[in-house]
Amino acid sequence: MDLILQFLHNTGFFLADYRNLIMIVIGSFFVYLAIHKNYEPLLLLPIGFGVILGNIPFFKGFGIGIYEANSVLHYLYFGVTSGVYPSIIFLGLGAMTDFSFLLANPKLMLLGAAAQMGIFFTYLCALALGFTAPEASSIGIIGGADGPTSIFLTAKLAPHLIGPIAIAAYSYMALIPIIQPPIMLLLTSKEERLIRMPNMREVSRKEIIIFPVVGMVLCTFLAPASIPLLGPFFFGNILKESGVVDRLANTARTAIIDTATILVGLTVGASTQGDVFLNAKSVGIFLLGAVAFSIATASGILFAKFMNLFLKNKINPLLGAAGVSAVPGSAREVHMMGQREDRTNFLLMHAVACNSSGVIGSAVCAGILWSFLIG
């Protein structure tokens, strides 16, 4: 009888805390969004399942939980806390990215720069709310709408916040179809949304091959702390564009990035143990994440409108919303918004150009913030 009682005391039913139950409900909601609503399933499904997994109550001290040394989850989580997974994901991203649209219309890169203003605005907001400077930087980077970059910077500056920041960053990436369209509609007129972009010039193969080298040298000279992200990113891109190592490029953009995405999603999800995750700070991070993402979207759009004051060939200001680095979600959303006004207006390629610029921009931002606060 004692044995049975002892066993029952060790079951999840006995050890369950209301916070675990809340998180299990949240995790299940993510799984529902991923499967039923098809909202960024590649991210939300691993994260959602990880949230459920991480909130199964267990007897502490047995080396089971993600925060317990020597547990399997702890070892897998090492890739997050050390910043290894984000670098691997960037390698795969580079091998997927086509920069020819950006090379054809380089001024779109400025929209990627403008959208990073959300990061610095949110940084100030977070400081004002009482977060420390490293915490505020990690929260601000959510505005880049780049999950791996957010994880990387948080791992370096505020590792205790990785869970909520990663969840917030990935959640907002998944919620692009809900967050961005109202901001786009609010800040643009119908005439602006109808602006057609000119046809792109054909970009030579040499330009496409030279760009990763030039881009990496320039960006990493400016912010050497972004080497762990931009190095693999541009390396992945030259693997793809060189055309001589198709096997490597193919592995980078399929098996490698998929493995890293699975592990990062699952472990980040599992890191949201109710007792650690559910607190006022996490709520604050979620709210600030929404502010960061919205400001980033708005600043991209407003900067496109500002550029139009000087440009002969106007830019469709919707493209500014794709300046965040949520690839390819925000580009898709911009394209769909453009098509809602005019079904013959194709903005996708131009939006992808802004998107790829946003990836570079947010990685540079992470490098700069890390450099500022590393001392």
């Binding site: 890169m109 400025l110 990073q116 203003m117 940084y123 100030l124 030579s204 912010a223 610029s357 540079v364």
Partner: protein, 132 residues
């Protein structure tokens, strides 16, 4: 510490303005560089300047038969292919025509040389047979 005081205490304004400025300048520079990239590439791709190539025409070596109608061995060597074109017993005039056709030098003298050397045996009535 909260609000503007917290921002000022953490050097927030400076970090935000400087950070934003650096990102913007960096990406604007990259944008400028890539806008010029196609010009650099076209410079590299420009075909080399047209140069006047002096083509030295090689003198085509035309084989000329040696001019020595008194050398019977050489005459045999030259006339053997012609005789091969003729029937075994042939008219000497036919051999002469062939020699002219192939521009062999001094056909009269060469044929005389062949006769003197006993290489062409007369069968009468202008018909000859070759004996190598």
């Amino acid at each position: 510490m909260f609000g503007l005081e917290a921002i000022a205490h953490n050097n927030g304004w400076t970090i935000a303005v400087t950070g934003a400025g650096i990102v913007f300048t960096g990406l604007a520079t990259l944008s400028f560089v890539i806008s010029q990239l196609h010009k650099v590439v076209s410079l590299l791709d420009r075909p080399p300047k047209a140069t006047v190539e002096v083509v030295i025409e090689e003198k085509i070596a035309i084989w000329e038969p040696p001019d020595c109608p008194n050398d019977a061995d050489l005459a045999v060597k030259l006339y053997q292919p012609l005789i091969d074109e003729l029937p075994p017993e042939f008219d000497l005039a036919d051999l002469y025509i062939l020699a002219k056709k192939y521009h062999l030098p001094h056909p009269h003298l060469s044929i005389r040389c062949l006769q003197d050397a006993g290489k062409l045996k007369s069968l009468g009535e202008g018909i000859f047979r070759f004996h190598a």
